[in-house]
Subunit: 380 residues, 2 copies
Amino acid sequence: MNNFIFQNPTRLIFGEGMIAQLANEIPVDKKIMVTFGGGSVKKNGIYEQVISALEGKDCIEYWGIESNPTIETLRKAIEVGKKEKVDFLLAVGGGSVIDGTKLIAAGLLYDGDAWDIVLKGEAQETIPMGTILTMPATGSEMNNGAVISKKESKEKYAFRSCYPTFSILDPTATYSLPPYQVACGIADTFVHVMEQYLTKTNESRMMDRWAEGILMMLTQIAPLIKENQQDYDLMSEFMLGATMGLNGFISMGVSQDWSTHMIGHELTALKEVTHGASLAIVFPGLLRTLVDKKKAKLIQYGERIWGITSGLPETRAQQAIDKTEDFFRSLGLQTRLSEVNIAEDTINEIERRFNEREVACGEDKDVTGIVVKEILLKCM
Amino acid sequence: MNNFIFQNPTRLIFGEGMIAQLANEIPVDKKIMVTFGGGSVKKNGIYEQVISALEGKDCIEYWGIESNPTIETLRKAIEVGKKEKVDFLLAVGGGSVIDGTKLIAAGLLYDGDAWDIVLKGEAQETIPMGTILTMPATGSEMNNGAVISKKESKEKYAFRSCYPTFSILDPTATYSLPPYQVACGIADTFVHVMEQYLTKTNESRMMDRWAEGILMMLTQIAPLIKENQQDYDLMSEFMLGATMGLNGFISMGVSQDWSTHMIGHELTALKEVTHGASLAIVFPGLLRTLVDKKKAKLIQYGERIWGITSGLPETRAQQAIDKTEDFFRSLGLQTRLSEVNIAEDTINEIERRFNEREVACGEDKDVTGIVVKEILLKCM
């Protein structure tokens, strides 16, 4: 086990009807800006619950934080927040609204252009924020990460901001999500877990079991959710699993490999591929490229998640990768670049960007531009 | 899944050499009282590391917090702390030192007798504290619970206090522990997990897998630790597992049954049975008494932890219980009251105490005095 420091202060408030607890969670005398995406929360009753719980508080609303939130939108939100002397933020939405709000939280205390904060990779200070999660996927509701895009230059980068002081998760909020978003959320959660798991063997028996526990749960519930997206227990598992998949609980003392996310962000930035969908494309190709170095863990994963218990090591590893791609396809997602009309010019541009920024990811920091190109060619 | 609220703010600092980080974790200008048990930390090098890391800080030392810390000892510590205007506590030891320090943290801000706080079940306010864990078992290093004894009346009760602001876990600190204490620590951790797991089925696939992950890890490492207690990876798993077994991570949205702990505390209070050892005696008897209502979960547990995959449901449940008792015996622990010379008079006294306090534990609050007696008779 590697040395590590873990801390996660977010207060998780989970269950049907828990939005009513909101008022107790925000200190009195705060000037609150409530941030939203599009209008879906007005259709599923979440908006009314939030407004009712905030009765008597000093609030303004900011609408229009888009998927893959852009610095262009967030600059405007920061301007409004500064003018209105906002000192508490409440994000109501999915990972994009929460991520965008994490930049607003930092931008409100920063004099320059908020894109600087993204490029620095870390916010120096933030105002406090809470969240009401409506779409499980990114885990942003219980971590300090956020990913922001710049439309102008087609860039998309992660940076560290604040942990939400609280996050309210009501599984019934997911009942009305478009099934494609649920599929992307499941894929996103699956890959989050895999990027903290599919690296080296024998680092921690317990962390392996916890990661595998989330993976097993996801593979069990995914087909059932397709049948009935209004099942409270299924959607509870999905919602809690997405949060647990990226809040630090399964990465204590073990190696991590965030290559798939780094490459996926480029596909989203350049070609507007939905985040979860980009991972379903990149991850099988990454495994096929790095199969030799990841073989031992692939065999463990294949055995424990997919029941692959016999065959030559090479065959078992390949079967585990095939099962992974099949799983993404069973969600209704595409798993090849050719299916989303992405060709070699985009691959070359991504390689160029990795080389230019001298990025090297992976558990051994050896996934450089040239390896990224190899991975993407395997995704064709 | 049941509704729940989860929050755990403790900063976990894990790994060999991490005690050197201590100075960064305590705010400047604090008057620190460092609390210790007996002198074992002077033999294994921990004391020197702590003193060296605290160089230049304003510290006093308080020695002598005993196993199953008593209000009689802690009153004296509180008196010293008040006199010296202590405003930060650092517990260096196992669960007893940490639990005792949690009462000191509350007692320093309380005007009356600190036993009142224990009887109330909850501290109103506390001064901040950190811990350096030397013996994995209780999980107290990352939760807000503590158990305090009153020698005078042979009572032992749990109460809620503060979460440590930080806890430093260096697995090498466990190398020199007496093997009996390691065995008791493994049993304690095993039963903590079981009391959050062995209740109802189908509440959460993920929480079940996480609990089972700790149980599987413990059953794997226990025989290996017996062979080599100086194996860093094994002792890391044990140390991290003990913390994860009782920090709220595996109890989200699921039922709990703390009957075994409640009964075990009485055995310790009345007959000075070591805590972990008391659980190894009570737990199999509890399962044998409540086998009918816990049957479905026992079958799941038997299959996933002990590989019991065939037979009649009754047989499978009984085999799972037998395997559990065998596991405790394999640790070198006794599992029967008769082995520790406890007879029916003690059982009657425990029943009387449960009846007098009108305690009812268990996931359905039906483990009352009469059931406790039945359980203890099955432990003979």
